[in-house]
């Protein structure tokens, strides 16, 4: 079967886990924490978009719900931060299931699905920017309480390990999906819905399940964001920026692959920092370079970096066998 084994995942996570032991630099840890957060959010998108072929432009709806529920339960109802975080994930899943039920029941596909998910996220953003419970335009500040039981820490390392652990769980979930009947059905839906129906696949239900899992993973990213930055407002929670980050990482890294979102997030975030460095003080120049490089990646690696690696490996194997064949002949 294609795809990495659980042992590969454990190895990658173990290597990443050593970073705080190797460097005390807050800059490096902060950079990696944000990159892994994007990888986590992108992994959520990848379940539905990469494996299921349903391209959502509105994953902010799940990220924001995870973030707001985590924040509101703590600050307005005094719920423990960890419990609030878990409930935030559940709430994100619920919103995913609700939006999925509405869109898939009405048979929305392709660009229509993308637009409707975007619309849902925007509606939530506007509601959050006026509703008193979300702090309206002001947003919500989480009171500083640097204790582990409050999901807050003195140093960055514990945050880094937590987001890494969340990412590890998401990688394993995706790998298990890949190896399951549900995963086979989900890919079948992506490839050809009619053909899937003809061999007994309940395509609406498969998509709904994928969207629920996808939303839960992305909501975990939202909840983590709140604990890390201790602030949330409607623009951050439900803004288009996170919907774009969610799809950019897997698309650059390789959609429908276990490690695609992680590779993509690291590349995209590194690129972002490098272009800032190169562009110096010229305003906006970093974004121009950033955009240009992204276009190049998508043009030359249409299956993402993971796909490029597979292609190169296949090409190398062919080259070697033809060289060997000639040597024998």
């Amino acid at each position: 079967m294609r795809g990495p084994s659980i042992a590969h995942i454990v190895l990658v996570i173990a290597v990443l886990a050593t970073v705080p032991l190797l460097t005390p630099s807050n800059v490096v840890l902060n950079f990696l924490t944000v990159a892994l957060l994007i990888a986590l959010v992108g992994q959520g998108w990848n379940v539905l978009g990469g494996y299921g072929g349903q391209y959502s432009f509105g994953h902010a709806a799940f990220f924001g719900t995870g973030a707001y529920v985590t924040a509101i339960l703590q600050m307005r109802y005094g719920v423990n931060a960890w419990i609030a975080f878990a409930l935030g994930i559940a709430a994100g899943a619920l919103v995913g299931a609700a939006i999925g039920a509405l869109t898939f029941r009405s048979g929305l596909k392709g660009s229509y699905f993308a637009l409707v998910t975007l619309a849902f996220a925007e509606v939530l953003r506007i509601l959050a920017s006026v509703a008193p419970i979300t702090g309206a335009g002001v947003g919500i500040l989480i009171t500083l309480d640097l204790r582990p039981q409050a999901f807050q820490f003195q140093s960055r390392a514990p945050f880094y390990w937590i987001v890494l652990a969340l990412l590890a769980v998401s990688l394993i979930i995706v790998r298990l999906i890949e190896r399951s009947r549900f995963g086979a059905w989900l890919v079948a839906v992506r490839e050809n819905e009619d053909a899937a129906k003809a061999v007994g696949v309940d395509t609406a239900r498969v998509k709904l399940a994928a969207m629920t899992i996808s939303a839960a993973i992305t909501a975990a990213g939202g909840g983590f964001y709140v604990q890390y930055f201790l602030f949330i407002d409607s623009g951050i929670a439900y803004g288009p920026w996170i919907s774009i980050e969610a799809l950019l990482a897997p698309i650059v890294g390789g959609i429908g692959t276990v490690f695609g979102p992680l590779i993509g997030a690291l590349v995209v975030k590194t690129l972002g920092e490098l272009t800032k460095l190169i562009a110096g003080d010229a305003p906006g120049l970093d974004l121009v370079i950033y955009g240009g490089v992204l276009i190049l990646i998508v043009a030359f690696a249409p299956h993402g970096i993971a796909g490029l690696l597979t292609d190169l490996r296949a090409r190398f194997a062919r080259l070697r066998s033809s060289v060997l064949g000639r040597a024998h002949g």
Binding site: M1, R181, A184, V187, N192, D194, K197, A198, V199, G200
Partner: protein, 250 residues
Amino acid sequence: MVELRVERVFKRFGGLLAVNNVSLAVEAGRITALIGPNGAGKTTLFSIISGFLPPSEGRVFHRGADITGMPPHLVARRGIVRTFQIVQPFAGLTVHENIAIGAHLSRRSRADALDAAAEVASTVGLGDLLGRPAASLTVAGRKRLEVARALAAEPELLLLDEVLAGLNPAEVATMVPIIRGIADSGVTILMIEHVMQAVMRLAEHVFVLAEGRIIAEGAPRVVVDDPRVVEAYLGHGAAARLSAAGGAHV
């Protein structure tokens, strides 16, 4: 025993009457063919039987149970599995993975489904192509893949929609025994087919559909000599001219 019964089915698309009062019965355990000129409504009828289209009127029964309007995945789970005239492979997947999707209908485990898929692949002659991407197959290969995927779902009733169309005579000759083999393993087959040589060799009972209506039925030999059938294919008056010409030779 009757495997499938279609009763007084109509299908309208706007002003077009695609299926016009069709009733037919498919006996269990044998090969039944549905023939007719292009545009006769054969594929539409298949879509109605398999749940992809609701009929405008009429009912469909599987082993006595009313399955009219049942969604396609439930029809498939009852044991009625169709292939598509315009082949519908899971293009990004390998041949092996394609067939395994069919096998998953009755198998939860990925390993079991892949094992079953490999077995089915060898019965339809795709055994050597398991690792190939479905998109790289030839027309003949894709037609086989359609059959293999449906067969892996272990149907009671297999609906084959022109699986021989577009094949050269040699390819047809290799497919005919495969279809015969499927029937011999106990699967009831209803096939839409244009390749008459294959229909004559395979089918025990033939229905002829023209302009949405069943115009003849019976044993293949009887049906092809039916003047109404000849006229449906060759035009009004053709039967008379043919028999006059044939008579002159005798």
